[in-house]
């Protein structure tokens, strides 16, 4: 177990290096520079800016410089936030996305697993069709539709949540993270419900379940004790990377509710050609995904004896 953890964490280094290298050259190959503006500055000014940020040097030299800097955990200055380093941008934006993502994750899991289990044990009855149609609808309704609906209802009609910003409102009791988290959570809940149903049905058809039934085990115990353990395996393997995705922020949800999370930093950095910020966020996401994949593998091996070594 320890060996697995250590080796996976060591794999991080080449993974991040490869991701950074590919992203570095890709980002530099997009046309358009970071310093163009509606009113073009003089060529001398553009040149000085390039010199200031080292963009006048040959590409390989910029690359070596960047990689050595990353090795010291310094992700460089941001061009967009002129008084912040990329480390600072991530440090202030990640907690926002983390809070929203975690709450969304809890919502997704609670709603999704419940709906999936109910559907599985009521296979081909109304209590299967109903939650599954809702789940299908949930997958089909994009977050940029769900978000504004929630914002209008809870923010404008009920006036219990802010519709924009990461600051509290005296008259609105709900924290600004609630609506974004529900928007994201419901979307993922739909996936989880379908996965849970599929996994549960697979297990419920297996011999050991039939044996258990024949032995007269309570139906509830079959579901909770025997079936869910195996039935949730596909969900767990889905959850690792999804959790990483959730806490790294969603551009759309962050724009709709105007919260200062990491998802929009990533997208905007590309639009702004803010190379250090592009690379910094990509590297950060790579680390998150590796770590949460590892966690989900560990969880899976704890739940499924077949994957244990």
């Amino acid at each position: 177990m320890i060996k697995l953890i250590v080796s996976r964490l060591l794999q991080l280094i080449p993974v991040v290096w490869v991701v950074l290298t590919v992203t570095f050259f890709l980002s530099k190959s997009i046309p358009g520079g970071p310093f163009s503006a509606e009113r073009q500055a003089t060529p001398e000014v553009i040149q000085k800016l390039n010199e200031y940020y080292g963009l006048d040097k040959p590409l390989w030299e910029q690359y070596v410089h960047y990689i050595t800097r990353v090795a010291r955990f310094d992700l460089g200055p941001s061009y967009t936030y002129q008084t912040s380093s990329v480390n600072e941008v991530i440090a202030r934006a990640f907690p926002v996305s983390f809070q929203i993502g975690t709450l969304a994750f809890i919502i997704a899991l609670a709603v999704g697993v419940t709906a999936g289990v109910i559907a599985a044990i009521n296979k081909n009855q109304i209590w299967d069709y109903l939650p599954m149609s809702l789940a299908m609808a949930g997958i089909c309704v994009p977050t940029f539709v769900m978000g504004p609906i929630l914002a209008v209802y809870f923010g404008l009609t009920l006036k219990i949540a802010p519709v924009s910003g990461w600051y509290g409102l005296d008259y609105a009791p709900l924290h600004p993270m609630i609506l974004p988290a529900i928007t994201l959570g419901l979307f993922y809940a739909a996936y989880i419900a379908r996965l849970t149903r599929g996994g549960m049905l697979d297990v419920l058809n297996q011999d050991f379940i039939r044996t258990a039934r024949a032995k007269g085990v309570l139906s509830r115990d079959i579901i909770f004790k025997h079936a869910m353990r195996g039935g949730l395996l596909p969900v767990v393997s889905f959850l690792g990377p999804e959790f990483a995705g959730l806490i790294s922020g969603s551009f759309v949800v962050e724009k709709v509710f105007n919260v200062p999370g990491l998802g929009q930093e990533f997208i905007k950095s590309v639009f702004n050609r803010d190379y250090p910020l592009i690379l910094g966020t990509v590297a950060f996401f790579a680390v998150l995904i590796v770590v949460f994949n590892l966690l989900s593998d560990l969880l899976q091996s704890a739940m499924d004896p077949r994957t244990r070594k």
Binding site: P31, L49, T80, I121, A151, Y167, L169, F224, N258
Partner: protein, 578 residues
């Protein structure tokens, strides 16, 4: 730890219709539940408390805090490095220059840090006297040395100030910036003593007072700049709350990136008694729909824009909330004159005459924009907009035939390039159709992401490309200088020595009326062989809560925040639920 498990267990129980407590039977799903609980715990630990925050419009009115948005997050609050409109608008609350904006008329100025000034006969030498109570927000007296230091910083090319060329009207400024002279004393700005400042300009500049309102001419606090870095060091931390030293009516209290910048009243401001507001919050909101919801929820006093498709609704249902003000800007298409057949002035004129601007304004834009009959928009004092270009399909067809394409026959297909945006596309489609109908020529529409688009424009990799130009100050030169040969914003390849000569001549003409006449002649010339297609003159369309007082229609949208007031018991806004 146990409580959430119970809750979840109960949840399943209810759903499954069971009556028994099943905690002991949940052993096998425990790992998941543990993860969920751990996550919830982490969430609680990292959740920040609701900050004091906003309390809605009525409370904001009572406390006299104006809630605004400038759209995107400002990149910097350093007046000398700032480039975009949001930056300028926020800096105008934090800083003041020699003069300040008039609250009613953008072509007038009020005394700012300077209380009086004079100029010589040909408007090339200006003396300003600093008022004796002009203070920095840390209590230091504002002196002429601060201005000398600031202009030296601005003209130090390693600072890479985007508006460095705004200062090139100072004698010797360009040479200093380009390293041709090393001694800053040779640049045309002198401290006669610690209250009197003299500017020597390269030519006759009757619009100098208007130019001085731009943030590029604001002073910065020498000691603060040098405390945080060298004179030419960008991006130092002097612009952070607690460090920022300004001259304006407000000071920087907090800056939460992508969320809010809070300003509070500056008690040391020379005119502090006349400042009506206690603070201004600038929220970062990039999405128009979110902005509109925030306005309807009472989180904003004013929006930055109104989405195109919502303009008719607000004009019809809530005329008391929507404001449409003239805005000193022109929406136009650039034409790449290096490409055939667009190198032929007749073709370019024909394309101009076959655009029905009235129809675009009335049917597409719908916010009282004016059809552009010239390039420079109205509102520039005595200059007056030129009334030259009108929809004339007959003449357009004739010109096209003269150019060798009767009824559009043999006319090569070209593309209208634009940055990805629905409004731009709608206009382009309308024009595409007009050209097809009136000239029988086929054009394509191509959109590119903003930075790629700008790159294409700078490299002249386009046929026709949409653009917009907003005045920096109230003089036609702010529009006309871009068409000079080789100007960084020309980007069409168009060049006419006669045009350059007229612009030079205008700079040597002392008489303001004669000067405007020369500029008019230059614009006339440009319109006779246009390197572009002016389409409409801008308006600014936004939502404004009726509790905001003195928010006047201003052609440059540069508001002097010290005159803005909030009515405490303002008319409560109508319910805006659709």
């Amino acid at each position: 730890m146990l409580k959430p498990i119970r809750v979840l267990a109960g949840y399943h129980r209810v759903c499954l219709g069971s009556q028994e407590s099943g905690r002991s039977k949940l052993m096998n799903v425990r790992p998941i539940l543990y993860v969920v609980c751990a996550a919830a715990l982490l969430l609680v630990l990292t959740a920040k408390m609701n900050a004091a925050g906003s309390a809605g419009l009525e409370e904001a009115n009572r406390r006299k805090i104006l809630l605004l948005t400038e759209g995107p997050e400002p990149r910097t609050l350093d007046p000398q490095i700032a480039q975009g409109v949001p930056e300028h608008h926020i800096i105008m609350a934090l800083m003041e220059g020699l003069l300040e904006n008039d609250p009613d008329d953008q072509s007038k100025q009020l005394p700012g840090l300077a209380d009086r000034w004079e100029h010589n006969d040909d408007y090339s030498v200006w003396n300003f006297h600093l008022r004796d109570n002009a203070k920095w927000s840390n209590g230091d007296l504002v002196t002429t040395e601060d201005f000398i230091f600031s202009y030296k910083r601005m003209l130090t090319v390693t600072l890479a100030a985007p508006y460095i060329d705004a200062l090139y009207i100072l004698k010797g400024a360009r040479d200093y910036a380009e390293g041709k002279i090393a001694d800053f004393n040779q640049v045309g700005v002198k401290a006669l003593d610690d209250r009197n400042l003299r500017f020597e300009l390269i030519g006759s500049t009757p619009y100098f007072l208007s130019a001085l309102l731009h943030t590029a001419w604001y002073p910065v606090h020498r000691e603060t700049i040098l405390k945080f870095g060298k004179i030419d060091e960008r991006d130092t931390k002097w612009t952070r709350p607690g460090s920022y030293v300004g001259t304006g009516p407000f000071i920087l209290k907090t800056w939460k990136e992508n969320d809010v910048i809070e300003l509070i009243r500056n008690p040391l401001y020379w005119d502090a008694t006349n400042v009506k507001l206690n603070g201004i919050n600038f929220y970062t909101i990039e999405n128009y729909d979110t902005e509109e919801r925030a306005f309807r929820a009472g989180q904003l006093h004013k929006t930055e824009e109104v989405a195109l498709d919502k303009i008719p609704y607000y004009r019809r249902e809530h005329p008391e909330l929507i404001r449409i003000d003239p805005y000193e800007g022109v929406y136009f298409y650039r034409i790449n004159v290096r490409r055939k057949p667009l190198d032929n002035p007749k073709v370019r004129l024909a394309l101009n005459l076959a655009v029905d601007r009235e129809s675009i304004v009335k049917n597409v834009m719908r916010a009282k924009q004016k059809p552009a009959t010239g390039y420079t928009p109205p509102g520039m004092g005595d200059y007056g907009p030129l009334d030259v270009i009108h929809y004339d399909p007959e003449r357009a067809r004739r010109l096209l035939a003269e150019a060798g394409y009767p009824n559009g026959k043999g006319f090569p297909k070209f593309n209208i390039l634009m940055n990805s945006n629905q409004a731009h596309r709608t206009i382009a489609e309308a024009i595409q159709q007009m050209w097809k109908q009136d000239l029988n020529i086929d054009v394509g529409i191509e959109n590119q992401e903003w930075r790629v688009f700008q790159d294409s424009m700078n490299r002249l990799h386009y046929d026709v490309a949409r653009y917009g130009w907003i005045a920096d100050f109230m003089d036609p030169i702010t529009f006309l200088s871009m068409w000079r040969t080789g100007d960084g914003n020309n980007n069409t390849g168009w060049s006419n020595p006669k045009y350059d000569q007229l612009l030079d001549q205008s700079a040597q003409t002392a008489d303001p009326q004669k000067r405007l006449a020369i500029l008019r002649q230059a614009e006339q010339l440009w319109l006779s062989e246009p390197a572009g297609i002016p389409i409409y003159w801008y308006t600014r369309c936004y939502l404004l809560d009726p509790s905001v007082k003195n928010w006047n229609a201003l052609a440059l949208d540069n508001h002097n925040y010290k005159f803005i007031d909030l009515e405490e018991n303002g008319t409560p806004k109508l319910s805006l639920a659709h």
